[in-house]
Amino acid sequence: MSDAHAHDDHHPTAPSSIERRAAALEDLLTEKGLVPEGFIDEVNRMSEHDIGPMNGAKIVARAWADPEYRARLLEHGTAAAAELGISGPEGDFVVVANEPGVHNVVVCTLCSCYPWSILGQPPTWYKEAPYRARMVREPRVLLKEMGCDVPGDVDIRVWDSSAEVRYLVVPERPAGTEGLSEEELAGIVTRDSMIGVARL
């Protein structure tokens, strides 16, 4: 049987592979003249270049190193990011900080809103149904499953980015990092800790 779905009534014929569908769409839109010159170069550039979570890590490191920056960052994320030459999302950029009694975690239940200009591409799991369905329903259970054990006496704040704000979590600065430079600090900040599914 080559067609995994033909038997289950609903899909008398399974869709063509997604690669073939994507290629068909691109080819046809090109033939119809919707695709300007330079498109292929731009696609190649996008494919090869990924900003990753580096911008977010820089912001966190600065917030750890400079209490006044931290205050400005929590007060107005977009402006504080701009101080470092980092442009924020189209809407507002809101930064929430973990503290000894508070853990923050970000989700988008309706699609997969994410601070692209700060953290790069969202990871696949962030865009899939289990994370989106469960993080608002049972955050403590799900965080533990994901290896992020939030102590029972720490409050959890889940942020569902359903409108125009995009969120960044400032994780708590780990003990023993007093001697590190800002650049070294940025090196220990992980993407997952800025989504809020990991603690450092």
Partner: protein
């Protein structure tokens, strides 16, 4: 099917051990450019609300089994066909097989939207309207009818419910609203809050 908050039956979050940053394949990047940048210029309504709604109109089983960018392929193809740029037959011939599209828009077109509102302030108790719009909305089901507190005012943004179904655009106040997890789920989750960003129209005073 996109409105997933609180839906049960989903298993563990599976993380790829060494997921590459960026796009996993060239077609993902191409799809991003086509769907978010190029195609919208040629659509009667190419605004975010209309683009998102084309994803939301996907067959639910197809939605769940498609990757993120695979959904964008379906949505882009749907909008291209609906606006007469392409035909489904062309897509299927070129793809060499079935090319499923999203279902039709079932919400009515909005011709005369009311002006945007800005009724609430930080600290206000609000109840989310117990409605179930047929069209695009950014008000998730899991908070409908529930009571929360406004914790932040985020300024005016285009109301998606109008944007997706109208030639008009209504800018309206948005807020971050805090819900106690126990108010939402009623199963004792002390110290847990769920904070949702909502337009003014989704709320009423509580």
């Amino acid at each position: 099917m996109h409105d997933l908050g609180g839906r049960q039956g989903f298993g563990p979050v599976v993380r790829e051990p060494n997921e590459p940053g960026g796009y996993h394949a060239r077609w993902e990047a191409a799809t991003r450019l086509l769907f978010r940048v190029l195609l919208p210029r040629h659509l009667p309504n190419g605004r975010d609300g209309a683009l998102r709604h084309a994803i939301e109109r996907m067959d639910p089983a197809l939605y769940l089994e498609s990757s993120y960018y695979a959904r964008w392929v379906t949505a882009a193809a749907t909008l291209a066909v609906e606006s007469g740029i392409l035909t489904r037959a062309e897509l299927e011939e070129r793809a060499g097989g079935p090319f499923p599209l999203s279902g039709p828009v079932t919400a009515e077109k909005i011709t005369d939207p009311p002006p945007g509102r800005s009724r609430f302030s930080v600290g206000d108790r609000v109840r989310v309207r117990g409605w179930h719009p047929r069209g695009h909305t950014r008000c998730p089901w899991y908070i409908r009818g529930h009571i929360g507190v406004v914790t932040r005012c985020d300024g005016d943004f285009s109301l998606p419910d109008v944007e997706a179904h109208s030639d008009h655009r209504v800018d309206e106040a948005t807020y971050s609203v805090r819900f106690d997890a126990d108010e939402l789920w009623n199963d004792g989750q002390p110290g847990v809050t769920v904070n949702v960003d909502l337009w003014d129209s989704y709320l009423e005073p509580a």
